[in-house]
């Protein structure tokens, strides 16, 4: 027995505990019930509710189990007369001001206060005086408040400060007048705000989108995996009959702990969007019309029989769908298959690893001594991974960024190197050079000596025992991705840091394994027939005869939406397998086959650590929509292709699994040739942008509550003050922005996080869908 281990006795049972543990941790582990409100295993101890009082031998009065460290030979009674009386007393006090509104409270049936009152309270109250009332303030479209019900446990406040890193809720006032809230009416901005709904022990904070729609005991639950980012957060889907009522976290310590992002929680609303496809549509005489499946399928088969075919598949669909998309394309003789819809530089694709991955486990992000994130808004792109990374920063890890702008962070970064995107390569070059990397293959570039910032980043990576160089979404979308990739690789090699990649979307990693690529077959092998097909950008730059679109909404997903629309317009035929009727499909598709989506079909997602996670179909797709794997099966039959006669989706997963057996994960790579360095651009004004958190895939794009939140409304042209000054613009003005002939009007926003010479205009939004490249030349003028 190590020194750390001690023995205690709880309710007559001998228990082993670790020194320094709180009593409640030990009783929880042993399955002994101690009532509590303020204690939460992921938050600091506040010990303010007093519900967990227990009797400890030799202590003169009951002690709170959540704040009492275990001592050797401690004897504890959790249910003795003394303990019970103390608990009952606390309960009575807590209920003094709590309204008796359980019949109209959304928490009813899953309320900790209700449960504990049943177990530990009295059936009647002695209190006859008036109860206090708190008037609510609006805190946004996601969380409904009823603060009269609040018992001031401060879990929500501690969550904001300790986990989300944004202190938005607080306890204002004093004594009886204390209230929890934002003080002023304001929408909360955290991208993980919804977690306070789960941790609030009462009905003070509830989910606004699902409020008043069902009782907890009427819902059934199924485990699932969130499809929205590369974390693959585990969730439970709660269903009211056959419709999804809400989504809550499913604990998985190695992935999402007990948290999920708001995107994971509220996206389900998009499943019921009014533009869900319910029947197949075919274009006859220029007009899309409903058709039966057999007509639609034979038309689709007709249109696809062409070697000049391009398959564009969204990285947010299931692994099985990604695999079948490429299998069908290849069976038809085309290697023009790609899921990298938002990428524009493919020049180093042959040096890419078999699958881009984090290079470590998610919990390793918590204990990094140093990290450099290149082109990453990790807080919004992978919110749950960002919470882990934040823990490293709090422990003193030096977390630095090279980004095309500053992004609001929830921790203190060591270095923030933000410059116009065309200078990101030289910033990274400076760091790699400061670290001593041999960059001669790229050429010795004048003016890249760098300054102390680059030195410090290089130093931190070298000194850190656990260091990482991470490539984020914006790096992959960057027009010089090959150079960034090359430099990141060199930097990781010379510093000994782990090279990690944050796969862009929910199933980007899976798409690589599935071979949804022009140059790679499933399992990371070279493309069959020896010849690489066209990349997504090439397929769009010069129109092909026909396209098969799987889950892709090119006006939102493509690196250059304007060009993509031209390509679709010029194509001989466009066949789509999709769950929604987006604008590009209604204008250009010849056949649209309605597919089931999240919760409606079995599907696997591969997360950033290479973990395969499947969820099953649990609700029915609307109307005549069908799981995509079945659509592929009958389509292949029509086309007389072999090898698609699966009897279950799991059979597809198994087939791919067998192909991936030999995949060795590893990001470090050898570049056959170093990409040539390119000088920063000369243009005075460039566009930069990202796909905002609630515009990343078809489901979230249609989730109304998320769209109404602050992160949802992002259609602005944001510029630094100096830039506005040059253009004599003020915030709120409207500007016209022009890119390759397309013109859009947008409201102006002042944002000094954006470098000069740059206007920040996001992609993935209807308002900007007609523009061209995300990182490119643009004209801005007063509208």
């Amino acid at each position: 027995m190590s020194d750390d281990t001690i023995q205690i006795t709880v309710d007559g049972t001998p228990l082993t505990a670790k020194r320094g543990q709180m009593l409640i941790e030990v009783t929880d582990a042993a399955g002994i019930d101690v009532p509590r409100f303020c204690y939460h295993k992921k938050l600091s101890v506040a010990a303010n509710c007093r519900m967990c009082l227990v009797e400890v031998e030799k202590a003169p009065k009951p002690l709170p189990a959540c704040a009492t460290p275990v001592m050797p030979d401690m004897v504890v009674r959790t249910a003795s007369k003394l303990a019970r009386e103390a608990q009952k007393g606390t309960m009575e006090f807590l209920l003094i001001n709590h309204p008796l509104d359980c019949p109209i409270c959304d928490q009813g049936g899953e309320c900790e206060l209700q449960d504990v009152a049943m177990g530990y309270g009295s059936s009647a109250s002695q209190y006859t005086e008036g109860k206090r009332v708190v008037f609510d303030k609006y805190i946004g479209p996601l969380i409904a408040t009823e603060m009269t019900r609040c018992i001031h446990c401060t879990r929500c406040v501690r969550f904001g400060e300790e986990i989300a890193g944004i202190r938005e809720l607080g306890a204002t006032g004093r004594g009886e007048n204390v209230r929890i809230g934002t003080y002023i009416a304001k929408s909360v901005v955290s991208e993980v705000s919804g977690n306070v709904i789960d941790i609030c022990p009462v009905g003070a904070l509830t989910a606004r989108p699902s409020r008043y729609t069902a009782r907890a005991w009427e819902l059934s639950q199924q485990p699932a995996v969130s499809p929205h980012d590369c974390v693959g957060s585990n969730v439970f889907v709660h269903m009211d009959g056959s419709t999804v009522n809400r989504v809550i976290p499913r604990e998985n310590e190695s992935i999402n702990e007990v948290w999920i992002a708001d995107r994971d929680r509220f996206s389900y609303q998009g499943l019921k969007s009014s533009d869900r496809l319910q029947v197949p549509l075919v274009r006859i005489d220029g007009k899309l019309q409903p058709a039966d499946w057999s007509t639609a399928l034979s038309m689709a088969a007709d249109k696809l029989q062409d070697r000049d075919l391009g398959v564009l598949v969204a990285p947010s669909v299931t692994l099985e769908e990604l695999y079948l998309s490429q299998k069908l394309g290849r069976a038809l003789g085309s290697n023009n298959i790609d899921h990298r819809l938002g990428q524009s530089d493919f020049s180093a694709q042959d040096s890419a690893p078999p699958m881009p991955w984090l290079g470590m486990q998610l919990n390793d992000l918590e204990s990094l001594d140093a990290a450099l994130l290149i082109g990453s808004n990790i807080r919004k792109d992978q919110p749950i991974a960002a919470l882990r990374l934040r823990k490293s920063a709090l422990k003193g890890g030096a977390i630095s960024f090279i980004n095309p702008r500053h992004f609001p962070l929830h921790f203190e970064a060591a270095e923030l190197i933000a410059s116009r995107h065309d200078r990101m390569v030289s910033e990274l070059y400076c760091v790699a050079r400061a670290a001593g990397a041999d960059l001669s293959a790229m050429g010795d570039i004048p003016g890249t000596e760098g300054d102390e910032r680059h030195q410090r980043v290089a130093q931190s990576l070298k000194a850190g025992e656990r260091a990482a160089v991470l490539l984020g979404n914006l790096a992959v979308q960057h027009p010089r991705y090959a150079q960034l990739h090359y430099l990141a690789n060199a930097l990781a090699r010379v510093t000994g840091a782990t090279l990690g990649m944050l796969p862009e979307r929910g199933n980007t990693a899976g798409a690589w394994l599935a071979g949804a690529l022009p140059h790679r077959a499933p399992g990371g092998k070279a493309a069959p027939a020896g010849e690489a097909g066209l990349t997504a950008a090439q397929m769009i730059a010069s129109p092909l005869k026909s396209y098969l679109l799987v889950g892709a909404e090119l006006e939102f997903d493509a690196a250059n939406p304007a060009q993509a629309m031209d390509a679709l317009a010029a194509a001989g035929s466009v066949v789509a397998i999709s769950s929604y009727l987006c604008d590009s499909l209604s204008r250009h598709a010849d056949v649209i086959l309605p597919a089931a989506t999240f919760t409606e079909t079995f599907g696997t997602y591969v997360n950033a650590t290479g973990h395969w996670q499947s969820s099953r179909g649990m609700t029915n797709p609307p109307g005549d929509a069908r799981p995509a794997w079945k659509i592929f099966r009958v389509l292949a039959e029509q086309l007389q292709l072999e090898g698609f006669a699966y009897d279950s989706p799991e059979a597809i997963t198994r087939e791919l699994q067998a192909l991936c057996r030999d995949v060795q994960l590893g990001n470090l790579t050898e570049f056959s040739t170093a990409p040539a360095y390119s000088e920063p651009r000369e243009e005075a004004m460039l566009r930069a942008g990202e796909t905002p958190i609630y515009a990343t895939d078809p489901i979230v794009r249609r989730a109304p509550a998320l769209q109404k939140s602050l992160d949802g409304a992002q259609a602005f042209a944001s510029m630094a003050g100096a830039e506005l000054h040059k253009l004599s613009l003020a915030e709120g003005d409207s500007v016209s922005v022009k890119q390759n002939g397309a013109e859009v009007r947008l409201p102006v926003k002042l944002n000094d996080d954006i470098p000069e010479g740059c206007v920040w205009i996001p992609a993935g939004l209807p308002e900007t869908a007609s523009l061209g490249e995300l990182f490119g030349v643009i004209e801005v003028s007063r509208a």
Partner: protein, 173 residues
């Protein structure tokens, strides 16, 4: 952890706080170590309240938050906790009559009633002309030996009688 969340837009302190207030706040800040500037929050709020004739607007609190690099909610918490801060508009002269035990025994009720009648307002209210604010004093002001007593704009007045109260209050501008 204690810094301002970057998503929250706060006013630049100098657009809200006077040069004099800023100078005083900085003097207080200089008394604390660099990483504990928020220790100056009570002083900063007093200074800001003084600048604004006795009450703290949200804008002022935000400016203090920006100055001390604190999340605004943390400043609201402090300002709403202490009874010496007013977070709604009040009259410019703060009249706080002690009603705690010793003063009560010495007849503070009569004094309160007198002042309430004199101005036609109740404890916690301000006169319409914005001159007098009758603060609810919750705590003993530690001048028990001179009860009944009141504090008018930081000055103690003891052994009050209605006549003496009139004299004091009438002399205010």
């Amino acid at each position: 952890m204690n810094s301002v969340p970057a998503d929250v837009r706060l006013p630049r302190p100098e657009t809200v706080l006077s040069a004099h207030s800023i100078e005083e706040i900085e003097e207080w800040m200089s008394r604390f170590p660099d990483d504990q500037k928020q220790s100056a929050v009570l002083a900063a709020l007093s200074i800001a309240q003084h600048q604004n004739q006795g009450w703290l607007s949200t804008e002022l609190m935000d400016a203090v938050a920006a100055k001390l690099q604190m999340p605004p909610i943390a400043v609201y918490e402090v300002a709403s906790f202490y009874s010496m801060f007013e977070t709604r508009p009040v009259g410019r002269h703060c009249v706080a009559i002690c009603t705690n035990i010793s003063c009560m025994l010495m007849g503070s009720d009569t004094i309160v009633e007198h002042v309430q009648n004199k101005y036609g307002i109740r404890l916690g209210e301000s006169t319409d002309d914005g001159r007098i604010y009758l603060k609810v004093e919750e705590e003993c002001l530690a001048a028990c030996c001179g009860g009944p007593m009141m504090q008018v704009d930081h000055v103690y007045h003891t052994r009050l009688t209605p006549a003496k109260v009139d004299e004091i209050l009438d002399s205010l501008d």
